[in-house]
Each structure stands twice: as C-alpha cells, then as structure tokens.
C-alpha cells in the first residue's frame, strides 16, 4: 500500500495516483454496500420466503418509500442541516392534494399541482426561517414539525369533520395519477411498484447534481464549512434554502404516492418517519456534521432499512423483539461502514 508514495513517480505525494482499491474504500457508500450484502446473505440463509421474487419486490417497495425521502434528506445532511418536519410534511402534502381536489371537485391533477406549490413553499419557509433566525435547523424544523402535525389534524377535521380525508378514488384523473405515483409494473411475472423506479431515478439525478454540477460543489462546501464557503463566493443562504425545498419536493412525491396508493389520508400519520429518513442517510455514509456523504449511499441505506424491516417478518422472529433486531442490524451496518472507512483513510 505504500508503493505509490515511495516510488520514484511520487516525488510530490499530492499528485500521486492513489491505490484504486483504497479509492474505492473511501467512497461513502462502500461500507453500506458491504453491510447490505451481508444482510442479504444473512436473511437469504435464515428466512425461507426472503429469496422469492415476490418477497424481494415487497422489500424493494418498502425500501423505496423510505429511499425517495432519503434522497432529499441526504442532500440536506451533506449541506449540514436536518429537517425534522420531513415526516409530517409527506402527510401534509397528501392532505392538501386530496382536500383541494375533493372540496372544490377538481380534477385530481389540479390538486397534485397545488400540493406541489404548497409543499415547496413549506420547504422554502423552513429554509427562510433557518436563514433569518440563524437558529439551528434542528430547532427550526422541530417547530415546523409540530405546527404541521397540528395543522394536519386541525385543518382536516375542520374541513371534512373527520380525521381522514374523503376518498378520491372515483374522481377524474385518479387513474392516471395512480399510474404515475402508485401503479405496479409487471417485470416478467413479478409486480414491482413504480416507486422503486422513481427511487432509482431520483437517486441518479441527485448523484449527478452532487458530483457533476456546480450546485453539487456548493452543497459539499456549505456543509463542510459555511463561513469558508461564503468567503469564496458560494451563495450559502440560497443553497440551504434550495436543499430544504429539495426535501419538500421529495415529501410531495411521497405524499402523492401515499394518496394515490390508498385514496384517503390519515391526518395523524407521518410522525416519527423523519428519523427513519435520517437513519437511511446515516447508514449510507452521510456524516451528521455535514460535508460528506452520497445519494447512492442513502439509497443503499434505505435498502438496508427495507431489508431488515421486512426480513425480520419473513424470518418469523418474535415480533416483540422486532425493534431490538432492527436497532441491532442498523448498529451493525453503521459500525461496518465506519470501520471500513477508517481503515481506508488511514
């Protein structure tokens, strides 16, 4: 491993070619990938039903429902911030679309568009509050989380008289919207939920932004050190607001899935999910301090989470211990990730 630095070609260590294996190992997502493979082998060996293609499709679907949000959340975390309102924002977004469409008897696509505008505005509001108050994003979004959770219940009850939105299953545009947000695609006999493909697409786009665009450099810069970033001319405030809006966009998409998969929305749902999104990003190699991580890692993190979540059920383990197993598997995956990276960086 020391060849590269002692060889004659490495007169200046900064321009020396790095060992390709080591270059691979310091990628944020590699530890998570190893963890994912280990878990996959483990569940394949212990759970009879796990290896069926239909089960695998269920696992992928569960992963995608976390993974789509994890894309936005991981970018935000690389940018150095948290969004605790992400979980209930999904519910808010679905409620807006369904209440607007139902109460005004509109084509549901109109509700979808209005919901997009409202949800993005919520994301921008999170960002603006953060920039204006200069409080930690943890506090700002904790406040918006509570406000949204209350508003979800309050508005829904005031408008519909119930705690869930009315069913929009029989309204114009429902079928086509369901095709986009919540349909199942036949892949050689196995039904795969369309969210799986969206999840992959979102991850690819986010990876491209991070690694190939100027905005991507800005994200790493503001997460690494906001003051230095500002000093070299990075628009810190705008970047952070855009990142909050990115989370909101993912929340809108997840909300639309929720709505068109089930036609009604329970106003109290979504609380607590924000932590699962953060967990996915962290397993995938995002640092809690910002400046480091990847969208692919977050996708693998979501896959690990989905695999553990459903693998425990397929393995028929005692459900009382479910969350213990979940926590243990997550701990193991994160530790592996950490060790691999530390070894590689040494």
């Amino acid at each position: 491993m020391t060849q590269a630095t002692t060889g004659p070609a490495a007169a200046d260590e900064r321009v020396a070619r790095r060992d390709p294996l080591r270059r691979l190992l310091v990628r944020p997502e590699l530890g998570a990938l190893i963890g994912a493979v280990a878990l996959f082998v483990f569940f394949s060996a212990t759970a009879d039903a796990f290896l069926q293609t239909s089960s695998f499709s269920t696992v992928l679907y569960a992963s995608s429902t976390f993974g789509i949000m994890a894309v936005g959340v991981s970018l935000l975390m690389i940018g150095g911030e948290f969004d605790l309102s992400a979980g209930v924002m999904v519910t808010s977004s679905a409620l807006v679309a369904s209440l607007v469409s139902f109460q005004l008897t509109l084509n549901v696509w109109a509700g979808v568009a209005i919901s997009l505008a409202v949800t993005l505005a919520l994301g921008v509001l999170n960002g603006l509050l953060f920039v204006w108050t200069k409080l930690p994003s943890f506090i700002v979004t904790l406040a918006t989380f509570l406000m949204l959770a209350g508003a979800n219940l309050g508005v829904t009850k005031a408008v519909t008289g119930n705690v869930a939105s009315d069913s929009i299953r029989d309204m114009d545009g429902f079928a086509s919207a369901k095709d986009v947000f919540a349909s199942e695609v036949d892949m050689g006999g196995v039904n795969v939920n369309v969210t799986v493909f969206w999840w992959i697409a979102f991850t690819v786009v986010a990876t491209w932004i991070l690694l190939r665009t100027r905005a991507g450099n800005w994200i790493f810069a503001v997460g690494g050190n906001a003051d230095s970033a500002r000093a070299v001319g990075v628009p810190v405030a705008r970047t952070k607001i855009a990142l909050f809006a990115g989370v909101a966009f993912c929340a809108w998409f997840s909300g639309m899935h929720l709505l068109f998969a089930f036609a009604t929305v329970q106003s109290g749902e979504g609380v607590g999910n924000e932590f699962f999104y953060i967990i996915c990003a962290v397993i995938g190699g995002c640092l809690l301090t910002g400046g480091y991580g990847s969208a692919i890692g977050a996708a693998i993190g979501a896959f690990i989470f989905g695999m553990v979540n459903k693998g425990i059920v397929y393995a028929d383990w005692n459900p009382d211990w479910f969350r213990f197993f979940l926590g243990a598997a997550l701990l193991a995956a994160t530790v592996v990730n950490h060790l691999v990276r530390r070894r590689a960086e040494r």
């Binding site: 483990f42 060996a45 212990t46 759970a47 009879d48 039903a49 069926q52 239909s54 089960s55 269920t58 679907y61 569960a62 429902t65 219940l153 009850k157 119930n162 705690v163 869930a164 069913s167 299953r169 929720l258 998969a261 089930f262 036609a263 009604t264 329970q266 106003s267 109290g268 749902e269 999910n273 459903k310 059920v313 397929y314 393995a315 028929d316 383990w317 459900p319 009382d320 479910f322 969350r323």
Partner: protein
Amino acid sequence: MRTPTTRGRLLTLTTAALALTAALAGCSSSGGKKAEESASPAGGGGPRLKIAMVTHSGAGDTFWDIVQKGAQAAAAKDNVQFLYSADPDGGRQAQLVQTAIDQKVDGIVVTLAKPDAMKDVLAKAAAAKIPVVSINSGADASARLGALVHFGQDESVAGEAAGQQLAKIGAKKALCVVHEQGNVGLEARCAGAKKTFGGSMQNLYVTGTNMPQVKSAITAKLQADKGIDGVLTLGAPFAATAVQSAKEAGSTAKIGTFDMNKDLIASIKDGSIQFAVDQQPYLQGYEAVDELWLLRNNGNVLGGGRPVLTGPAIVTKDNADQIAPFAERGTR
C-alpha cells in the same frame, strides 16, 4: 431410548454438525423443535396451518397482548403456526399483509382501522386465494374489503351499555374522557353513552400518551365544575388516573370505564371504580384463528355476513371475583 449403533452415532454426529452450522448461520430453517412440532399433529388435528395476524397496534400494548394470547391459545389447539406483526402506520400495515401473502400463509387476520389503506392488499390476498378475517376495528368495511367474518365490538352498542351503567350508579352529570382526539371509535362510544345516559354529558379531550397531562386535565375539570358526579373513561389506564384526579379535586364523582386489565379488577372490587365495559379482546384473537381453522376443516363461516360481537361484557363488583383470576393471568 435407542441403542447407540454406529449408524445412530453417525446420525448424531451429522446432526450435531448440522446444528453447529445452523447456529453459526444464526437461526435454523430446518430440523430442531420447529420441525418436530410441525411433524406431529397436535390438538385440533387436521393439516398444520400457517395463519398471520397483522394489526395496527403500537408496541407494548396490553390490549393487543391479550388479543395475541387468545390467538395463540386457538393456534395451539388447532395445530396452527401463528405469526404476528403490527404497525400503526396504514401503509406499512398493508406492507406487512403483503409479506404474509409472500409467505404463502393459509389465512390472514387483519384489523381495519384504516380500511382504504388495506383495500388493494386485501384484493391481492383474495387473488392468492388466502381467506381473510377482520377483527377489532372496521366492522362496516369488513365485508366490502372481502373479509369473511368480522369479530369486534360495535362501539355505539358498547357506548349505550356504558350509558345505562352510568345511569344505574346514579350519575346525573357526566364527563366522557376522550384520550385520542379524532379517533372515530372513541367518539362513537361517547355518543352511544350520551344516548342512553339520560343526564347531561360532555366530552373532555386529553392527550392519552401523556398521563400527567390526563390527570391534570381531569382534575381541573372536576374542580371547575363541582356538579359532575360521573366520569366515563375510554381505556383502563385512564380510569385509574381519573380516580386520582377525583381524589385530588375532592370530587365524589363515580367512575366507570371501557376495557379491562388486572389492576382495574382490584379497583372494581374495592369500589373506587364502579364498572368496566369489556370488549373481550381475547375472544377477538381466539375466534379469528379458530374461524380460519373451521373454514379450512369444516367449511364453516360465522356471523351470516354480519359482524360477530365480542362485547360489551359488563364487569361490576358483582362478578369481579369470578373474573379476577382470568385478568390476573392476562387473558381478560
């Protein structure tokens, strides 16, 4: 039992090696006690069935523990492998039903607290020819979503029974403590109680997940309105809290409640709580599993297309002694 022949010893060695490998792999999918259990037809006889129950329960809930105990008792009697999973989130509960379908179970027991979330996945269960029975919530949605039978309590009927009990203990002005704002079932209980009570009744909304807050809210209400002489809580733990609140406020209000647990029996016996309206969760678990077994082995369907009521069963000082031992072991 057997003489250790060479072949026997070889078998033992192989088994030991296999067991070691299995232990290294974490968990065994073949051999061991599990295989032994599935090989020997126990209790109810018939082929060994695999039945999954998927509920909307949160973790560590007494009520659902009793449901599970009932289901396990029926499973043991009927030679059924019983799988339990739960998630309060509608979408994730639907995913759990999907995992049960993937596992090719012989029957599914499901709660329909969020019927729309379960619609598509229950259609898939029907397509896979897996019979479905619903329990607890969702009596009105059960048949529409393709469930064979529903086992549960009609919340309005139970509320009416509670209202009658309140009137019987001599209350004129009562409080209905709702511990989860926006829960349709709880609202129906209060509405039912109001209908048969006769006196005046108002709802008090409290945050059930925060017990000190529940206590202070009831205390404040009892202090503010000395005329309140009856309190109806909608869950057993809240009744115990209401007793404390009444003491704190110096109120003589009599307390009745929905649901049951072993502490409650003691309170009913000593007179601090007047009555409990039990929906008998044990029956919901037991009957659901047993119904799926009956369907498979004798083609029976209970209820004639209507919900089968598991409650209300009223517990007062008169029958508390009889029920106490069952509550003590956690099945009532």
